[in-house]
């Protein structure tokens, strides 16, 4: 078990490194950064000045090494646009995004698991078909459109919730729904598939033969075995949500990490962009690591080895 964890950790770290390289190269190779920073109308001399000022004239590898060395110490430099350091900006915005992601995942799970369980128990009934329909339709809607529609209906039409901002908990409801609905169908389907699989197994037949109440059979015996992959998927979905928060945060003006990234992209504020891409990737890698460990740890066959 320990060996497994260590091995996964090493893989995760090397992937983080590769992501750092990729995001660095992406920015530095897809166009002349100096020109982009200086502005399209600047003279050649100005562009040169910018190039020297930001160290863009040095060899790529050296630039990368510098950046990485600082990044490890959580020093991502200073934003081009704001006066603060990148870390200060990130520190401000990250909690918002994490809160959003957490609530979104919670909502998705709260809907997905019971629906999946019901769909499996009452297979081929109207409950099953309805949940399948919800799943299929849910995955077809573009998230930005769903977000806007939610605003139209609940904020403008019914006036139940606010449109933008992040001060109160009400501000998080619509964004969390908009962010979480996309993860709900896959979680529900996995729950359903896992439950169907488990409900057909011999030990469930034994549990029924023992005269245990149906609730106990489902929740204690069946769900316990079916839920493990679902939890793992949930962790991975959270990672996706962190990456996909860009759109939602922009629509709802949530001032989170995603919106920071988007604004920085629009403003050519590259230090921030690089840092955010790396940070979100790091979270994603961490979450998949958690998912893998979850899968392994909850299997008692691994525990007693």
């Amino acid at each position: 078990m320990l060996i497994y964890i260590v091995r996964r950790l090493l893989v995760g770290l090397s992937v983080m490194l590769t992501v750092a390289v990729v995001s660095f190269m992406l920015l530095h190779l897809s166009g002349d950064l100096a020109t982009a920073i200086a502005g399209a109308e600047s003279s050649a001399a100005d562009v040169e000045k910018v190039r020297v000022q930001y160290g863009l004239d040095r060899p790529m590898v050296a630039q990368f090494a510098d950046w990485l060395g600082a990044a490890v110490r959580l020093d991502f430099g200073r934003s081009f646009y704001f006066q603060n350091t990148v870390m200060e900006l990130v520190g401000e915005r990250l909690p918002v995004t994490l809160k959003l992601g957490g609530i979104a995942l919670l909502l998705a799970v709260i809907v997905a698991i019971p629906l999946g369980v019901l769909a499996a128990i009452y297979r081929d009934s109207w409950v099953d078909r309805l949940s399948l329909l919800v799943a299929v339709v849910g995955q077809a809607m573009p998230n930005f459109w769903f977000a806007l529609s939610l605003i139209l209906v609940f904020a403008v039409g019914l006036k139940w919730l606010p449109v933008a901002g992040n001060t109160s908990w009400q501000h998080f409801v619509l964004p969390a729904v908009a962010l979480g609905y996309y993860a709900m169908p896959s979680l529900m389907r996995l729950t359903r598939a896992g439950m169907l699989d488990v409900l057909g197994s011999d030990y469930i037949r034994t549990a029924r033969a023992k005269g245990l109440s149906p609730a106990r059979v489902v929740f204690k015996h069946a769900l316990r075995n079916a839920i493990i992959p679902v939890m793992a998927l949930a962790a991975v979905e959270l990672g996706f949500m962190l990456g996909g928060s860009v759109v939602i945060e922009s629509v709802y003006s949530l001032q989170g990490l995603g919106q920071l990234a988007w604004d920085s992209i629009s403003r050519n504020d590259y230090p921030v962009v690089q840092a955010v891409v790396l940070i979100i990737a790091v979270f994603y890698i961490g979450l998949t690591f958690v998912a893998d460990v979850l899968n392994a740890a909850l299997d008692p066959r691994m525990r007693t080895r």
Partner: protein, 297 residues
């Protein structure tokens, strides 16, 4: 003798007929195919179906609501946008954009992903290790952010979107073809081909690939839908297809400023987007159900 009924083997149809019958019996697949066919048809026939030129601006005809509203007219069935362009025409031409992007991206990412997956699955060992590592790294990248950042640097356009998404969405192709190839690698027909002296490219292309087709089609449809949604997102944020090209995502963006008073400007393109993606997903899921070995469901 006995009048107890004896079991007789049922006469069997040829495989393709059975496949067709199962396809027709699968409701999702049928509905999805119909949706897809209709939209494809509309896209193909856009020049003839559109009542107006989608690029023609007419400032006097701005923001006319669809025909079923009080202020609407049958001249513009679905109304006009802020520049006076006919909405229905833009919608029809927008279908072309979405479908084209979906197909082109699926093709590019399919080529990249399949090549990687087949090589990794067939050769195993270090090749597999490298490819798996690349896949893991790609999965760790936040696709939307990376696409946005790159598009911002290079400048958004239809071509950029296709190339970018093609270079980013190959992961599922690679994963699926890799595991399928691993399973088929030791199959008898491959060994037979090798024994007959077939070269590796021949084996991969003529023996292996046809057997991956059904899995590939399923993944291709799902990635097509994925690409269409991503393009819409990019265009919505201004970094995808550039105006005046009609893209459904762009139409939502353009309508955002007016959505509080004229909700149809965002509802209509959003609904068609959802319907298209729904159709593609239904086809993909249906194909998966129909081609999966029995008992899986």
């Amino acid at each position: 003798m006995s009048s107890a009924s004896l079991s007789l083997p049922l006469p069997t149809l040829p495989a393709w007929r059975r496949g067709l019958r199962r396809s027709l019996g699968h409701r999702g697949l049928v509905i999805g195919s119909v949706i897809l066919a209709l939209i494809a048809l509309a896209a193909l026939l856009a020049p003839w179906l559109s009542p107006h030129d989608p690029y023609a601006q007419d400032v006097t005809q701005r923001m006319i609501p669809p025909a079923w509203y009080a202020k609407g007219s049958w001249e513009h069935l679905l109304g006009t946008d802020k520049l006076g362009r006919d909405y229905l025409s833009r919608l029809l031409y927008g279908a072309r954009v979405s479908l084209f992007i979906g197909l082109a991206t699926a093709l590019i990412s399919g080529l990249i992903g399949t090549t990687m997956g087949v090589l990794a699955g067939y050769y195993g060992g270090r090749v597999d290790a490298v490819v798996s590592y690349i896949i893991t790294t790609r999965l760790a990248l936040p696709v939307v952010l990376v696409a946005l950042a790159t598009a911002a640097l290079v400048g958004g356009s239809l071509k950029v979107v296709i190339v970018l998404l093609g270079l980013l969405l190959w992961d599922r192709f690679a994963i699926v073809t890799r595991s399928a190839t691993q399973q088929l690698r030791d199959a008898e027909f491959i060994a037979a081909a090798k024994a007959l002296g077939a070269s590796t490219p021949y084996i991969l292309l003529r023996e292996l690939l046809p057997n991956l087709m059904s899995a590939l089609t399923v993944v291709a449809t799902l990635e097509m839908a994925h690409a269409i949604l991503l393009e819409a997102t990019l265009s919505f944020l201004g970094l995808g297809v550039q105006p005046p090209t009609p893209s459904w995502g762009l139409m939502v963006a353009e309508g955002k400023a007016y959505m509080f008073f004229q909700p149809w400007v965002i509802v209509i393109p959003g609904v068609v987007l959802a319907v298209l993606v729904l159709g593609i997903n239904l086809v993909g899921d249906g194909l998966r159900d129909v081609t999966a070995p029995d008992g899986r469901n």
